[in-house]
Every structure is written in C-alpha cells, then in structure tokens.
C-alpha cells in the first residue's frame, strides 16, 4: 500500500483529504505543519507528499525545498489557494511535480496522485510494461512478445514519453522541444515523420495505438 503524507494546517481539510485517500486505498498520514511532517518522515518513508503552501512557521516552498534536497525522487503535489502563475513557477522551480488550486476536487486529486505514483514507479524502475510490450530505458530497447523491435534513440524516447502518459495528447512543439536540439532547423512537421515510422514498426502490436488528435498533436492509446 502506498503511504502518502498530507501537510495542511486547516484541520477540517486535512481530515477530509486523509479520510478520502484512506477510503481510496492509500495509507494517508496528516500533519498540521512542516515541523511535524519532518518528524513523521524520519519515522517512516513515504511514497508521495501533498502539501499546502501557506502554513504557519515553515511554508510549503521551504518545506518542498528541504524535502527535495534530501530526496530527489519523491513526488510532491502542492495543494494551495494561490492560483497566480508566479506561485506555480516558484513551486515547479523548486522541483514539485504537480499543483492543484483550492478548492480541489477530491476525485481529481486521486487521479493525479495515481498518475504521479505511476510515473514515479516508471522513473524509478526505468522500465515500462504494457501487456507483452516491454520498454527498457537503460538499454533503450523495445521488446514485444519476446521479439526486439529496432528503434532509433529518438524514436524510443518519443514512444517512451507517449506511453508514460497514455491518453494525454502532446503537441508537435512539445515533443520537438523535448527531443530535438534547440538549434535544430527542422519544422514541427518532422514529428509527423517519426510518428509514421513508429506506427509502421508497431503495426502488428495490439497493445497500443498512436492517434493523431485533430491536428493538435499525438497521443498513445493503450488498449
């Protein structure tokens, strides 16, 4: 069972979030401030942290910064009333993984926590497994049904990205920014070429499909 730490100074909200997470099959521990959160973390390891920003004493930024300096992997989700872009920027620069503006929708919180944990697991193991398809980040290999499918480094990276976020559409520019050099002169249309190649190579693979989304971008749909 995943262990989640909820740091929130409003008692009612803390209790509600913890109760909901417990009900949803997580082991949630609530702390009213950063100090007691550190104490709890010394006692036992956690898989994910949900934290408020505006708290008495040590604020959420300071807390996230300290946690990040000790643990680079643990997903941190900010849950705060501040909805301005400056606060979000500051949070993400400190290395948080997700940001939700209060009042939060508990169902959405659950979805996001699920996605964060899944990605954390993928990132930790550096392996992806979908049905009989296996992607190994360290060796950059894709094996389907015991057979290796030869991929170039860029093809592998794009596929790994799409399959890490199944159902989420990425625009061509987003993929370009991540997998091509900044100085490159190629247009975002180059992404189309890669998608055609990937589709060709995984033609027979029934585990997933790369879909074009209305001229906006591409997504992998896992079947």
């Amino acid at each position: 069972m995943f262990k989640l730490l909820v740091v929130e100074d409003d008692r009612d909200l803390n209790r509600a979030v913890c109760a909901f997470l417990k009900q949803s099959g997580y082991d949630a521990v609530g702390c009213p401030d950063a100090g007691s959160a550190f104490d709890a973390m010394y006692g036992s390891p956690f898989d994910l942290i949900v934290s408020d920003i505006m708290m008495p004493g040590i604020d959420g930024y300071e807390f996230a910064k300290t946690v990040r300096s000790l643990n680079e992997e643990i997903p941190i989700l900010f849950m705060t009333a501040r909805d301005d872009i400056a606060s979000k920027q500051r949070g993400f620069r400190l290395g948080i993984d997700d940001y939700m503006v209060k009042p939060i929708d508990l169902d959405e919180l659950l979805l996001r926590i699920g996605a964060l944990l899944r990605r954390a697991r993928i990132a930790a193991s550096r392996k992806l497994e979908i049905g009989s398809l296996r992607l190994d980040m360290d060796q950059r290999t894709a094996v389907w049904d015991g057979q290796e499918i030869p991929l170039t480094a860029r093809e592998f990276n794009i596929l790994y990205k799409l399959l890490s976020y199944p159902g989420k559409t990425f625009t061509r520019s987003q993929l370009m920014d991540e997998f091509w050099d900044v100085e490159t002169n190629t247009t975002p249309r180059a992404v189309d070429v890669y998608m055609t190649k990937l589709r060709g190579k995984f033609e027979n693979c029934p585990e997933f499909e790369i879909k074009t989304v209305h001229g906006l971008g591409y997504k992998a749909v896992v079947k």
Partner: protein, 362 residues
C-alpha cells in the same frame, strides 16, 4: 454649493444711465455745435437749462425702460435655463440620477443653452446607466453567492437528521458538493475579475507562438470532449506570433473553449481556427450548440448576464466579462455571431507580432 451671484437692479440701471447719458450727451454736443455754427443761433442760459432738464429726464426715462427690458430678457434667456441646470446638477450631486432638464428650459434662451442641456441630459443618462449596473451587480453577486450557501446550509441541516435512507444521504451530500463547487467557481471568477478591473495585474508582454498556445489550451479540455462525444476540428495557421500577456490570453481561450463545449450537445462539433489578416490575427471558436438570440448577444459580455436565466447550465455569467476585460487590457477585440438553435462563433482579433525569435521561458 456656490449660488450664482445676483446683481441688484439699480446696478443695471446705473450702467444703462451712464451709457445713455454718454451717448445722448455726445450726440447732442455734436449736433448742437454743428447746428449753432451753420445757423448762427445764440443760446441763452435759460433756454439751454430748460433743454438740458428735458434731455436729462429723457435719459433717465430711456435708461429705466432699457433696464426693465434687460431684466426681463435676462429672466427669460439666462436665469431660467441656468436655474434649471443648477437644479438638475444639484439633484445628481445628491444621488438622484433620474434628474433631466426639460428641453422647454431652452426655449427662447440664449444661444448655446440648448447644446449644454443636451449634453447634460446625455451625461445624466450615462450616469444612471452606470448606477443601474452597479446596483444590479451587487444584487447579482449577493444572489449568486447566497443561493448556493442557502442550499448547502439546508442540506447540511437535513444530513444531521438520523432517519435518512442511504439514498437520501448520498443525494444530499451530492447537492452540497455540487453547490460548493459552484460557489468556488464563482468566487474564483469574482476575484479574477476584481484583480483585472483594479489593474493589479500588469500585462507581462512576451513574444510567443499563438498556435501552440491554442493547441495546448484546447488539449486541456480533451477529457471533456471525449466524455461528451463532441467532435473537435482545428485549422491553425502555423508560425503565428503574438506579443502579449500569455497568461491573460490563456484565460480568454479557456473561457471560449469551455463555453463552446458547455453549450454543445453530444454529437456536436467545435471548430477552432487561427488566421492572419495583414497584421491582425483572427482566432475564432465555432460551436454547433444552442446559439444565442441577438438580444442576448448584446448583453453577453455583461457581468452576471446569462442567456439562460433558469441557470440550468452551470456557470456564473462572469466568464465572458473576464474575456472582455482581458481584451481591453491587451488591446484586442471580440465579436460574437450567432444564430439561435444553430450555434455561435466567437472571434477574437489581436495584433500580430513580426516574425522573429520566439522568447522561451526565462
């Protein structure tokens, strides 16, 4: 408030008397001099005195008549319209924005008064419009805030009752959740609008790719259109740059997209296009939803205006006010074309930036 200073009648009389005396004396002297020289008449002291007396009396009499006529003229041509204007201005200062000046006040008045009165009435009409908006706004805010709170309070009370069936309990709890969500959305929008209106947000201008922003913004609604079964189509011109505030414009796009998806039923279609026209960019969002009537489209950008007065579709009537306010700040325009029952098209017109290096995030 200062009142207009009234000159006493004798000062008018004195002015007219001096004027008449001066004019008559000068003309008499001129005439008599000329007459005496050419006719060789000698004046005696006694007949001169008599003539002077008559002339003096005459001057006094003429001055009196002039004064009376002038006072009368002033009463009609100046005092009456001035009094009407002052009266109306006082009422407006006192908060009565229904005050208007009757155009009759200008009849026979000096030139220019009719113009002043016209201007004044336009101003008063404009002021009362603003005032109505303000009172309506407050009334709408309190209505929109109090309704969900009342619902939550009532269901909260109901939930405390021990004799509830499981079904009722779930239903009531759902109602509380639904209303608190509505309240949260409303408060968020009111705060955003307030921040925009008080100009606490200064636009942070940078150059960026608009097509990419539209694509990413639209993709945030992917779940919504998949869930509702709405078909999305886009035609986005590439490499179109703008120099504007990215966050403010994102607010515009997400409001337009969420509206289009909100008012379109399953099986409908939402079309997003990005076109350039000289140095202008046209972004339009078209839906095949319920559309809006011309009466509604005239008010659609007003705060708390909802075409659907039953409030059946969720929302709080602030989204498009936000959009319009952003357009004011970034110097763009927004139009709506719609046919009731067939759908609507919202078109945003903004200035295009010259092509060049795109600034990446700092």
């Amino acid at each position: 408030m200062k009142t207009t200073k009234n000159h006493p009648a004798w000062s008018y009389f004195l002015a007219f008397f001096l004027l008449a005396a001066f004019v008559i004396t000068s003309s008499m002297l001129l005439f008599l001099n000329y007459f005496a020289r050419s006719a060789g008449v000698e004046y005696t002291r006694s007949n001169l005195f008599a003539a002077a007396l008559v002339t003096f009396g005459n001057t006094v009499f003429l001055s009196l008549i002039c004064t009376a006529v002038d006072i009368l003229r002033r009463k009609v041509m100046v005092d009456r319209p001035v009094r009407a204007i002052v009266e109306a201005a006082r009422r407006i200062t006192g908060g009565d924005f229904s005050a208007r000046i009757s155009p009759k006040a200008a009849v026979g008045a000096s030139q220019g008064f009719d113009e002043i009165i016209d201007c004044f009435n336009t101003m008063a009409a404009e002021l009362s419009g603003v005032e109505t908006l303000r009172t309506d706004f407050i009334a709408s805010v309190s209505h929109e805030l109090k309704t969900p709170m009342a619902v939550m309070q009532n269901y909260g009370t109901l939930l405390q009752s021990p004799e509830l069936t499981e079904e009722q309990r779930v239903e009531y709890a759902k109602a509380v959740t639904e209303q608190s969500r509505r309240l949260a959305g409303l408060v968020t929008n009111i705060l955003k609008l307030n921040r925009l209106e008080n100009q606490q947000i200064y636009p942070q201008i940078r150059r960026y790719d608009l097509g990419e922003q539209l694509a990413q913004c639209l993709l945030q609604f992917e779940d919504t259109w998949e869930e509702k079964g709405i078909d999305i189509d886009t035609h986005l011109e590439e490499d179109v740059l703008v120099e504007s505030d990215e966050e403010l414009l994102a607010l515009v796009w997400s409001n337009l997209f969420s509206n289009a998806l909100k008012f379109t039923d399953a099986g409908g279609k939402v079309f997003v296009s990005l076109k350039t026209q000289g140095d202008r960019i046209l972004v339009s969002v078209t839906d095949t939803g319920c559309g809006i009537t011309p009466q509604v489209s005239r008010h659609i950008f007003e705060k708390f205006y909802q075409g659907d007065t039953s409030h059946a579709t969720q929302g709080n009537g602030l989204g498009l006010s936000l959009v319009r306010r952003v357009m004011d700040i970034v110097g763009g325009e927004i139009f709506v074309e719609s046919q009731a029952g067939e759908g609507s098209t919202f078109t945003v017109k903004i200035k295009r930036a010259a092509n060049g290096e795109v600034q990446k995030d700092s």
